[in-house]
Subunit: 269 residues, 2 copies
DNA sequence: TAGGTTAGTTCCATTATTTGAAACCTATTT
DNA sequence: AAATAGGTTTCAAATAATGGAACTAACCTA
């Protein structure tokens, strides 16, 4: 319902601009941004200036274009280090990656979408959409379906309502009903599969990372290509992934910020 | 000069709050933030609310505390991926780390300070201040001095004026004059050394990463402890570091965004 | 359990910032 | 020399932010 807070908050607008610039994934000139933005020229101009002077964006005078600022990079590290799963999961992702030699993903739900939080490439990297920091659809990816299948009662409808149901490939499930059946199958089977539903030739096995209380923290997947292996073979990894997911979940619950003393060191100069 | 833009921009204030929350490095309650902040209660409250509703912060209702938001995490990745040096340097850092077995840093200048952009731990990790995403002083760290020494004419005075000149150890250089001499020595020698100037027992060799045009992009360092080795031994790594720095710089110049097509895929749903 | 203390939230008249159409630059192009 | 594109500044009107104080909820404390 909070779709577009319309004329609310200057901060919101500035952040929208930040997102917009980020979405280009490359340095952009003023006019590039203007074209994509719904703000009037003068307003956009000032918002960009603010972001630059705040260090969230940087302006390269030589090429007269905007890039991500160094302050954002700094926040980036803090954010990543705290996005509970990522730092805890890191060594386990390494382990999983080493054992299976395939592409490995760690994802979390971001609104109704999948946010790839971390990734390890296969020994022989394969080109694909996913990338740490990118968001992808939930209804047609392994990690997405794994999380949806184990979501607490009642949360699912709202999320389904926000899916785009775009048919990426002939195998994409494009309706809530079809997906509901698939989710039931996932629960019965104990893990999720992506059978080229998002990208042709890309397949994966995925399992959710869940607390003992049943909360879905994220999901792990092992991804490969049809030219290299098949779903049956990937299924064999499910138990290993489950073990690792369980370990990560346990550590999340145990750990919960062991470094309560860290701020004594940090006094600002 | 732009020390504290005082009563300028709501965006600035919101971002200050964001930084503040980030600086705790852990989930914080409202009152924790209030204590550290100069904003009145109501104002801070609303700023936090804005940040939460914008997804830059997340509010954990159970523990009633604020953490980094998922939107920030997402921006974080984009920022990191674009902070030109980091992604390009990554494999080279790995290589350097593997070859020397010591702690390795990649840093960039953030205003007048050093921002550690990436890091590899030594085979036997040693406790020290630096950490990816942290900022440190420029005048008394290896990477900082390496960058200052090769800064283009005219930029140095402004930066020196912003140093704190705090005496961290007996060996810290605490005046612009002393540092200027040291920088000349660095240029003569071709690389920078940190002889326990920031932390007792911590020493390092550092070299700048520079474009062929002479612009300072960042710096690389190999760090160790006096109990484990000495400066003379570290100096031996200088040529290797120089090679790697040069490679990184070259790739930065060649590369410059090879993925100009990436946005065709990304169309918003 | 009344009485107090802390922590978080809302109100609202005042104040300050943001807004954006249009005018204005300043290189480039025709 | 005139026109265009890309960027920057102005200024009165519109809008959003401010913060003191009042309020609520939860948790102590005696």
């Amino acid at each position: 319902m909070v779709a577009r807070p319309a004329s609310d908050g200057t901060v919101a607008k500035a952040l929208d601009v930040l997102d917009l610039v980020a979405s280009f994934g490359r340095p952009v000139r003023f006019s590039d941004v203007l074209e994509q933005s719904s703000f009037p020229k003068a307003t956009l101009y000032r918002l960009l200036q603010t972001l630059v002077s705040q260090g969230m964006l940087a302006f390269d005078a030589d090429r007269s274009c905007y890039t991500m600022g160094i302050r954002l990079v700094r926040l980036a590290h803090v954010a990543w280090a705290q996005s509970s799963l990522a730092p805890i999961a890191r060594p386990h992702l390494d382990r999983l990656s080493a054992q299976v030699g395939e592409t490995v993903h760690l994802a979390q739900l971001d609104h109704a979408q999948v946010l790839y939080v971390d990734k390890r490439n296969a020994r022989m990297p394969i080109p694909m959409y996913s990338q740490a920091g990118k968001v992808g659809p939930a209804y047609c990816t392994g990690v997405g379906k794994a999380m949806l299948a184990y979501l607490p009662e009642g949360q699912l409808p709202a999320i389904l309502a926000q899916q785009s149901w775009h048919r990426f490939t002939p195998k994409t499930l494009t309706s809530p009903d079809a997906l509901q059946k698939e989710l039931a199958a996932i629960r019965a089977r104990g893990f999720a599969l992506d059978d080229e539903e998002h990208e042709p030739g890309i397949i994966c096995v995925a399992l959710p990372v869940m607390t003992s209380g049943g909360a879905v923290l994220g999901a792990l997947s092992v991804t490969s290509t049809t030219s290299h292996t098949d779903l049956d073979a990937l299924c064999a990894y499910a138990p290993l992934i489950r073990d690792i997911a369980r370990t990560i979940a346990q550590e999340t619950e145990t750990w919960r910020f062991p470094e309560e003393d860290a701020h004594s060191t940090r006094k600002r100069a």
